[in-house]
Symmetry: C2
Subunit: 350 residues, 2 copies
Amino acid sequence: MQLNIAVLAGDGIGPEVTNEAIKVLNAVAARFGHDFTYSHALLGACAIDKYNEPLPQDTLNTCLAADAVLLGAVGHPKYDNNPDAPVRPEQGLLAIRKALNLFANIRPITIYNKLIPHSPLKADRIAGVDISIYRELTGGIYFGQKSLSEDKTVASDLCSYSVQEIEQIAHMAFKAAQNRRKKVTLVDKANVLETSRLWRRVVTQISGEYPDVALDFLFVDNAAMQLILNPKQFDVMLTENMFGDILSDEASVIGGSIGLAASASVGDKYSLFEPIHGSYPAATGKGIANPVASILSAALLLEHFGLYTEGAAIKEAVTTSIEQDYCTTDINPDSTYSTSDVGSYIERLV
Amino acid sequence: MQLNIAVLAGDGIGPEVTNEAIKVLNAVAARFGHDFTYSHALLGACAIDKYNEPLPQDTLNTCLAADAVLLGAVGHPKYDNNPDAPVRPEQGLLAIRKALNLFANIRPITIYNKLIPHSPLKADRIAGVDISIYRELTGGIYFGQKSLSEDKTVASDLCSYSVQEIEQIAHMAFKAAQNRRKKVTLVDKANVLETSRLWRRVVTQISGEYPDVALDFLFVDNAAMQLILNPKQFDVMLTENMFGDILSDEASVIGGSIGLAASASVGDKYSLFEPIHGSYPAATGKGIANPVASILSAALLLEHFGLYTEGAAIKEAVTTSIEQDYCTTDINPDSTYSTSDVGSYIERLV
Ligand SMILES: CC(C)[C@H](C(=O)O)[C@@H](O)C(=O)O
Ligand SMILES: CC(C)[C@H](C(=O)O)[C@@H](O)C(=O)O
């Protein structure tokens, strides 16, 4: 298969980990006889530094022309505590999600047996956890109207959802559940929010089309507890943008390291694959970042194009590297393996 | 001291646990020579059932005339999945918070050594945790304008904050930190939300008045991870209404049972004390609900009025009951002690 992949390595550790993912993709191409090409472009703080905008038109064009996007990480601390910064790296991330209509962010949460001792949670709670989180990614309070009064004394953000926005991701979540353990949990705050009540109504209606899938509901505050108390109860979790941001990050740490968590953002036409972790400024350039989340994002990319054997080969190689303790220091503090050591090890295994 | 306490026992297990708190308060009054009187009134589903409104005027008048409010729990499942219900029990809770201007919800998170084996988190992560969460309670998306388009295809909720709303709780949080470990962590989503950027600006300004207190910032998704990974890093956490709802519930389970977590909601004039747990419909009337969160809420009430010795007496009695394994089944599944057994035990100890 021929795939032209737009690579937005981004900021901080983004370039380092993405580099390893590309090494692994090239190994897959060689072994399985595919032809992967890469078009690199800037997104985030690096794009602001060069073009004064977080998502330059060139970058967007590169993505629109590609078959898929592989993203590293976006963000730089120099923007975080400056409320007056006219542009921020994260705007680039939000803009590309919107421009490519990537309305569903899918985050698989699984546990490597070898890493159970590393989890902050006790073994009996987490062994066997297998969750797929469907987070709405192009709506809600992230994209609603923002305002700051002229005298800067009142600020606001609007959270808004339409039936159509809810429907499109809900169908995806139910279809995913049909191939899994046949349960969808809608997480909302329907006892307070009008948007949540719309979610509940629309998702309940849609569930009628999937009689083989059970639907249940959980308030977001309760979901934040249940993810720790009993994560095994979840199969597919479906939720809106902000709740999904919080809950999927919370869920990602029960696996032992956020450095392992990958995600796929998909729409009707385009798709983008990125680690859950951020740009991790403190680790930048030190060669200590864990490349596994980026490598697993590449596996999700291949699976998205039906290359299941290839995706499985990457996942198996990652599992072997973890079982062999061939890991960065976030997993094993005594490890001497660098980002590229781990990437090369996995590259050789696929 | 004379205290007239408005008692809103509410729904579900609310009346059962509140009853135990009153037993304990009466024991304190007898031992320390105080005069506590109680005015009971309806709030939530029970008020809807009787008066068709979740916060009847009579109830509000009772609270306005009282020195403090002791609340049980509010909510009934018959309203949760009915998006068209014209009134909902939770509206009563929100309305009373607003009417009494209870802008700060304070949730202490501590760990009983005896219960460390019960926590879903590993012992090394949680031993010694001592967090005080300051959640803004009368603003944000909870109280912003809600809308549903006439054809019911688009819903929205507005999140709005003013400088003044942020200032009043921020001062409280910094003052609390001065009497603790001198650290405030502001949790927000300043990389996305305009309201968060206002929070960051105002809280940063105010921090100048508290040079002995260190201020740091955390994005809400990261905070949801850090609470599990390393909760010991937190002293005072300060955040807006919705983030506080999610994070304080998440934090409450690391202690071993949500049945232990109490909260104080305070404003410039009025104050209200309630367990973090909800109405727990499945347990209603079975005598299995844990009364400790309600009893500890009563202790917070006494401390609010300067009765520190009395508050400490209750907390010590609770600690003893836990150390003696005199607990409900949420703590010890093999226990045969009922809600009122535990309440009576603590009552005898104070
Ligand atoms: C960087 C930030 C804007 C982003 C988000 O909140 O969506 C990130 O946390 C994520 O989850 O991808
Ligand atoms: C019942 C609900 C409206 C309420 C809230 O979200 O504030 C509850 O979860 C709480 O935290 O007190």
